[in-house]
Symmetry: C2
């Protein structure tokens, strides 16, 4: 049997989403097609709505329906502390943690020779503008603990060196709820040296 090209196209498009393989894309396509009123149409509506309203914040690179985004527009947020993240997903994760009351800069990538991402591909305009205006006291580099993340952090540190700003990075250590025996030596060494008296 040749599957109908319309179903095939839907499965192919769904399979390109992160986290969905061919198998789960087939299941998702079936679920959509078997419930046009309760699944397919509402999801299409939500996508349409998002496509029409969501834009990239020209200040920080966040995604929001207002521009500048609700974080940049919030007068309660401390504009002198800017947290640099790779992606909007990382920004969301940090917001869920609820510890950062400043603003963000979403780079949209990290330096990587492999994926061809160079300094000119990083979204840094907003950050550098605020730094040059002298409005920034601290830049927190919240980049992943990968080679690319470390390279990007190092490069940013050098780029910010001429300015009177504190550059910090997230602490390394044992993840909450994490078992010790699955952690690498680097993490455990960092956890040892950042130990706290009880």
């Amino acid at each position: 049997m040749r599957i109908s090209p319309e179903i095939d196209a839907l499965i192919t498009r769904l399979a390109r989403l992160p986290g969905l393989g061919p198998r789960s894309a087939r299941r998702a396509a079936l679920a959509l097609l078997q419930a046009p009123e309760t699944r397919l149409q509402p999801l299409m509506g939500a996508m349409q709505q998002a496509a029409q309203t969501i834009q990239t914040c020209p200040e920080c690179g966040n995604l929001d329906s207002c521009s500048p985004c609700s974080l940049c527009a919030d007068p309660q947020r401390d504009g002198s502390v800017i947290c640099v993240v790779e992606s909007v997903g990382d920004l969301w994760a940090l917001e869920r943690a609820g510890m950062h009351r400043g603003r963000y800069q979403v780079l949209g990538g990290v330096l990587s020779a492999l994926s061809g991402c160079g300094p000119e591909d990083l979204n840094l305009e907003g950050l550098m503008k605020h730094v040059e205006q002298g409005a920034v006291k601290e830049v927190i580099l919240a980049l992943g603990a990968t080679v690319e993340g470390a390279t990007t952090a190092h490069w940013l540190q050098e780029k910010l060196a001429p300015y009177p700003v504190i550059v910090s990075r997230l602490g390394h250590g044992v993840p909450m709820g994490g078992a010790l025996d699955v952690l690498d030596e680097g993490t455990l060494a960092a956890a040892m040296s950042s130990r706290k008296a009880l």
Copy 2:
């Protein structure tokens, strides 16, 4: 931070798809929003196209852009052998196996007191019509090896008893590539008694 309601609605809708939890729905939503031209619009287009063209086959319950479906319309398919499946997903799986050259009947469910699915909820019209016309030689019950699947198979067997049709079921045994020590006793017993000389 309150995430924008449009993004929130998109995540919620995506999270209702089988195989996507809240975490992967967030990743999928981000992937869509960060690539409106290459991901969001094409997926919306594919959904729109599918919504406009795909319908349930009035004969067998398959999903296709033509009606009756391409399987029911195919003169090469043996209409005297009908394979009964629970869902279109099961039909696709059997078609990938490529062993069945007859037609199908998609029940759209299995008998289950828990989910409130009774005999009147099963899509049996096409099958019974062909059986009553004397056009069917064999009915293959390709239902899951669950309590509900077995109950449904038993009920169908009784329903077909008055007619001169062979009723068969899929063979049980060790799945290809499967390890023995994860299989239950019932499967292993079935595999032993269906063993073949080499």
